[in-house]
Amino acid sequence: MAEATAPKPSSSVKLVLLGEAAVGKSSLVLRFVNNDFQENKEPTIGAAFLTQKCNLPTRTIKFEIWDTAGQERFASLAPMYYRNAQSALVVYDLTKPTSLIKAKHWVAELQRQASPGIVIALVGNKLDLTNETSSSNPLGEDGDGEAAEGEDADGDARKISTAEAKSYAEEEGLLFFETSAKLGTNVTEVFTAIANAIPETSLKGARGPGASQASAGRTEDQSRVNLTGPRDNASKEGCGC
């Protein structure tokens, strides 16, 4: 049980990682959990399970991370892992257009099949392969594939423009980040944002010692309010089935 000196409530959040093979799911987790990066990671059979705490100003979130196998045929196992997940990280490789298509499929699948109200973050990984810094994207237009390809000319491996992915994310009410597991760019931010976006209400039934206290910590933080807006819409759609 939490001591008196540490009144911050703590709760567990189940998070599942989905995405095409070799987009860097396991690497993102490894960066988040161990702050490490390996070129050759062991393959994920079924799914790997890891945990990591995320400290927020008002509470502590313990992520129970299910890192799933990316190979296409493992897709039919996915429902087993995203079952009861409160959050999901759908990862694509921003140098590989097919991976965004696959990511969209996963988003649709989650919105229809996963627990209603699941917090989904769309993450474009391998930012290190592009020649731009952080999020300053010269491209102004929204989601124009042709325009994005035009960028290639500068020796940039990027194939999916920030704007394209972002507009899709906004449309679907997803959190959106571009990361580099290799360099560590934006990795912790993704998990923190998810932690913030998890509504208190969905923590009520959470397992673990912090569960009962979670409901007590009612302090709201700004970012969460902002972020929940679109997601709630998405979850309503998700309830449809």
Partner: protein, 1139 residues
């Protein structure tokens, strides 16, 4: 509503209860040969030919002594071990087992599958041997007093050593086994004859045998002590990079010694005899260098290798340099397979892994490569050569872990479900706890099964599990898994979430080498490691978990698992259909998906069945000559094509497309009678339809399956197919079909429909359709409308006048549908004419051509109303009298004079043709090529209200996807249901019954009033098609004439032709094509039209026997309609019976 669950039901009959996952195409009575192969781990080529009760005597190895007296030989036999059991003979194996299993056709399933029960550690083969016939050197028949029939078998034990020091020399260890046959003299003789034949054919394989055993480490091990020659055979990477674990701690040396003794006495590799010590030795763990060989032996992959010793190398050579998706996936994982083992940090180890995985991916492209295979193969490669690992991987994927690595991984998911249910059964408290704390067991246990505990337990222990697994089979995985949970039960009960649950087990696995009872005062007990404890719990406490109990559970859960996979696949697939699919509703997409895959599945099953049937017939005739017991020879066939089971066909060929259309559109069902091929008994027997009982039954070899409506084959359908086949691969994907349907159904605007239709006929895409195309379009319009039109075609005011006119003429008021049909026919006639009228000449000098027709040629659409009316009138004048008298006659059921009416109709028909001819006169002139453009086509269509409605609603509506086909009229609704065996194809059956109802009622229409309409109208439509045909024919003739005569005189020609056709030209020109008969033969058709239709139903329904005389015998018109009527009434009777 059709859905996949009906497939599931059907699949039930395919599943073999004892080998649930092998999915042999057998019903509840699994193929004996499959069971036989499973018991002795034999390749698929083997079937049980003979069996006999026998006693096996194994004497200690004797020095070869040719001079031994008979008495000495008898003494030898008395010494040693005796086992009573069964001796089995297959094509190239002689197997002995203490299991009293029998594979005779007469044996009950339980006798044949006895080996799947408790094996007491002996594995399915029990004690005994599995001896390739080529490994038998000599068989002597012993004469003794105590046994009537005794055989002494000398094997090629140690054959590879022989070759080293010349064959003439006597082997150091000669293996001789004695078998006493128990049975009648005749039975014994028969068995010996079979054996003799097998031995003869086996002689040729001795070379293969030598080659295969040379790769076995035992051959090297058992070479004469001290004088080992040559390099030891490859016993895995362990020889180069050391074997995992501490050899001393594993007591490898003493294990090796024990095995050396055992093999010396009991034969090695192919000649090995399994005695109880063998199983005990396996339980304590195999010695490193023999491990690979024993795995190969116990799993049976050795026999696969014996069958094709060079397959591995050949496969690699054959596909050298080729690329595939599997290879890409393999490459990604090579560096991360057992990376802790030094062998896989080297290029040598990685190279071997790459080659084995690649070779397998080529031999089984359906499986290709699945993650986890890399780990399993890496583990195998530590102990065996590449070739050995390759065959063992095949055995794993095909037999031991069926479906585990398939593209849907259904085997994995199913076994997880089975494991959960076993936990629930054996550890209810733990199970309840798991449910309560919402821990999903399979997320923990899935990797155990998928990678055979290799990356869960420390390697040394995982290999101990594998030792037993290869001997005893998949049940070992379950037993070990249950034991793990049982041992950790208390701690697991404290774990309340996935994380805690996983960490308890992780902790346990890391301490497997520690003492299980560290605090015990008993030193012996203290020495027991946790792993030993695990083995004891697994095989003692859970000895009740047998292969048959697992199969039973697999059977139970198979449907649920497959359904969930399929619904996942469907969901994913539909979601991925792209933007065009948005035009259709989700229900429609779901229905299209189901229908598409159902047809592919159905077609595959059917072709497989037909093939099997053909093979069976061939075999049956051969078998008689070769004295092979019939029924034993059937090959194991696997249930294929089901989405949940892995890769299924995804392309639909043209025939499949026709079948697909026949299921969703009425017009796509053929009119021609299908031969009444079905025997009623087989139709009733729905369940065995797909079962392997097929082999005992004559099956219909119809490519459409018994009872399914035969699809039509019209040029329009070919065009549609080509249009949908955007990838030009002569086959359609689901995507193509959805896009195709979406373009027709989804647009919902008439212009789109018209354009679509026009484009179908614009072959070269130049925006022009020529004369030929116009005729084809009109033919297609009639083809599409010949079963009536879909949607509500409302009679308009302008038409009412005509109807009245017609009504006045015929003295008969029609229902709206009837009027519509007639009107549609005239619309089409008018369509042809207008097309020609407004067609653009291809050359300017022909500009004048349309004027010759003598009709209004005002291209102004506003003026069309006038022109149209006159056109219609003219047509109807021709058609009206023809149709009405017939209708009147038939609806009243009064007899009329057949010749008279025939003449009358003939006259009418001729006048129609004449009108047509005149109308199209100029247009028909082949010297004036012409075409219509899309705007013209559109104008012509829009000029006619009916055609307009056709394009606006009825054409799109004729594709019925998820909206049900309109319930067929009660009179004939279930006629098809009773006689069609459509095995779950409700949709198809609905469609067919619908079709039958239309045709049926047309037949019935000969007599009952009110129903006559349909039949008449059908005739009219058919006539319409003839009209089109006639126009076409005339064109051809005109062409011919033109070629013949330099001077062209169209009018006269036409008249002359007309006369000519009444005569001999008819049959020669149009013989064989029912729809293109000429006028004279038409006369008869008109009379007998109803009968022709009736014939077609009869063919479709297979009720030809139901020729009753229960009906009114007054059918004075002719005998034919009477029969038609009787059939229709028979159909009605059936319906009543049904209701």
């Amino acid at each position: 509503m059709f859905n996949l669950s009906s497939l599931v039901q059907k699949a039930q009959s395919l599943i073999d209860p004892t080998q649930a996952l092998n999915l042999s195409a057998s019903d509840r009575n699994p193929a004996k040969s499959t069971l036989f192969r499973h018991q002795f781990r034999l390749p698929d080529s083997q079937t049980p030919l003979q069996e006999i009760t026998a006693e096996l005597t194994i004497s200690p190895p004797i020095q070869y002594s040719p001079n031994a007296t008979q008495g000495e030989k008898d003494r030898d036999r008395d010494r040693g071990y005796h086992y009573a059991g069964k001796l089995h003979l297959s094509e190239s194996y002689l197997c002995f087992s203490t299991q009293p299993t029998s594979f005779l056709q007469t044996a009950s399933t339980s006798t044949s599958s006895g080996f799947t029960g408790q094996t007491h550690g002996a594995g399915p083969g029990g004690n005994g041997f599995t001896l390739p016939l080529c490994a038998i050197r000599r068989v002597e028949r012993l004469h003794s007093q105590s046994y009537q029939f005794a055989l002494a078998i000398t094997t090629w034990n140690g054959i590879s050593n022989n070759s080293a020091n010349e064959t003439s020399k006597t082997p150091a260890y000669q293996q001789k086994i004695t078998i006493q046959l128990a049975g009648s003299r005749q039975a014994c003789e028969r068995f010996c004859d079979g054996l003799k034949r097998g031995l003869k054919s086996g002689v040729g394989d001795v070379g293969k045998l030598k080659r295969v055993v040379a790769e076995c480490y035992s051959e090297y091990l058992l070479q004469g002590d001290g004088k080992k020659s040559g390099e030891p055979p490859d016993a895995g990477l362990g020889m180069l990079f050391r074997y995992p674990g501490d050899a001393r701690k594993l007591r490898d040396r003493s294990k090796m010694r024990l095995w050396g003794e055992y093999l010396r006495e009991n034969g090695r590799n192919v000649t090995l005899i399994r005695q109880p010590t063998f199983h005990k030795l396996i339980r304590v763990g195999l010695p490193n260098r023999l491990r690979g060989e024993i795995w190969e032996q116990t799993s049976g992959s050795l026999f696969l290798r014996l069958e094709h010793p060079t397959q591995y190398a050949e496969t690699l050579a054959k596909y050298e340099g080729r690329d595939s998706l599997a290879i890409d996936e393999i490459e990604k994982d090579l560096n991360r397979s057992l990376p802790e083992y030094p062998g896989f940090q080297s290029e040598e180890g990685i190279g071997r892994l790459r080659r084995v995985l690649t070779a397998y991916s080529w031999t089984n492209e359906e499986v290709g490569y699945c993650q986890a295979m890399n780990i399993v193969v890496a583990a195998l490669l530590i102990y065996m050569s590449e070739s050995q690992a390759f065959f063992l991987l095949s055995t794993l994927c095909d037999r031991l872990l069926p479906g585990y690595y398939s593209t849907t991984m259904y085997g994995t998911l199913l076994d997880q479900r089975v494991f959960e249910s076993l936990v629930e059964k054996t550890m209810p408290i733990l199970w309840e706890h798991l449910v309560k704390s919402d821990v999903q067991l399979s997320v923990v246990s899935l990797p155990w099964f998928l990678s055979l505990y290799i990356n869960s337990m420390p390697l040394v222990f995982a290999f101990r599990v594998l030792d037993v697994f290869f001997l005893e089979g998949p049940k070992v995985l379950f037993q070990v898994g249950l034991a793990i949970l049982r041992i950790n039960g208390e701690e697991l009960l404290d774990a309340t979430d996935d994380g805690a649950f996983i960490s308890v087990l992780k902790g346990y696995f890391s301490k497997l080498d520690e003492s299980a009872h560290p605090t015990s005062t008993n030193a012996k007990l203290r020495a027991v490691t946790r792993f030993q404890e695990l083995m004891v719990v697994a095989f003692k406490e859970f000895s009740g978990i047998t292969q048959s109990s697992i199969s039973e559970q697999r059977m139970k859960h198979k449907d649920t698992v497959l359904n969930s996979i399929e619904s996942f696949a469907k969901r994913t697939s539909i979601r991925n259909l792209g933007p065009d699919s948005k035009r259709l509703s989700t229900d429609d997409l779901g229905a299209l998906y189901d229908r598409f895959y159902a047809i592919l599945y159905e077609r595959q099953m059917r072709s497989q069945m037909i093939q099997e049937e053909t093979e069976r017939r061939m075999k049956a005739s051969k078998a008689r000559a070769a004295e092979v017991v019939n029924g034993l020879g059937e090959t194991q066939s696997v249930e294929k094509g089901r989405v949940g089971l892995g890769p299924s066909p995804t392309l639909m060929d043209y025939d499949g497309f026709r079948e697909f259309l026949a299921g969703i559109a009425r017009w796509a069902i053929t009119d021609s009678p299908t031969p009444p091929e079905k025997d009623p008994a087989s139709d009733r027997d729905k369940h065995s339809y797909f079962g392997n009982s097929v082999r005992r039954r004559e099956v219909s070899l119809s490519p459409w399956g018994a009872g399914n409506p035969e699809p039509a084959d019209h040029e329009f359908m070919q065009r549609l197919f080509r249009r949908w086949d955007v990838d030009m691969q002569n086959a359609l994907t689901l995507q193509n079909v959805v896009t195709g349907i979406a373009h027709i159904k989804g647009k919902g605007d008439i212009m789109g429909s018209i354009t679509y239709f026009f484009e179908l006929y614009d072959d070269d895409g130049d925006g022009k359709v020529d004369r030929e195309g116009i005729l084809r379009i009109s033919e297609a319009l009639l083809f599409l409308s010949r079963r009536g039109l879909e949607g509500s075609l409302t009679p308009s005011t302008s038409m009412t006048g005509l109807s009245e006119y017609e009504a006045g003429n015929g003295g008969q008021t029609d229902g709206p549908q009837g009027t519509t049909n007639e009107r549609f026919l005239s619309s089409v006639s008018a369509f042809i004419r207008r097309c020609f009228e407004y067609a653009d000449p291809d050359h300017p000098q022909n500009q004048e051509a349309p004027g010759d027709s003598g009709h209004t040629d005002t291209p102004d659409p506003s003026a069309l109303d006038v022109g149209e009316d006159s056109d219609e009138e003219e047509d109807l004048l021709d058609l009206g009298p023809e149709a009405s008298p017939k209708r009147g006659k038939k609806s009243t059921g009064l007899p009329s004079n057949p010749p008279a009416s025939g003449k009358q109709e003939n006259g009418n028909q001729r006048s129609v043709s004449k009108a047509q001819a005149e109308a199209a006169n100029a247009a028909l002139d082949p010297s004036k090529p012409l075409h219509i453009t899309l705007p013209t086509f559109r104008m012509v269509v829009l000029a006619d209200e009916l055609l307009e409605q056709f394009f606006e609603s009825s054409f799109p509506a004729s594709f019925r996807i998820s909206d049900k086909l309109t319930p067929p009229g009660p009179a004939s609704s279930s006629s098809s249901l009773t006689t069609f065996s459509n095995i779950g194809f409700n949709r198809a059956s609905a469609a067919s019954s619908q079709a039958a109802s239309i045709v049926g009622s047309s037949a019935a229409g000969v007599v009952p009033p009110g129903k006559g309409l349909r039949g008449v109208l059908d005739n009219i439509v058919t006539d319409g098609m003839r009209v089109a045909a006639e126009v076409r024919r005339r064109m051809d003739e005109a062409q011919k004439e033109l070629e013949k005569n330099a001077v062209h005189r169209p009018g006269d020609d036409e008249e002359d032709e007309e006369e000519g056709y009444d005569g001999t030209h008819t049959s020669s020109t149009y013989g064989g094509d029912a729809e293109r008969r000429s006028v004279r033969s038409e006369d008869r058709d008109l009379l007998e039209g109803a009968d022709a239709e009736a014939m077609s139903i009869r063919g479709q329904e297979g009720v030809s026997e139901v020729k009753t005389s229960t009906l009114s015998p007054t059918t004075p018109t002719s005998a034919e309609p009477g029969r038609a009527r009787s059939i229709s009434t028979a159909t009605q009777k059936v319906v009543e019976f049904e209701q």
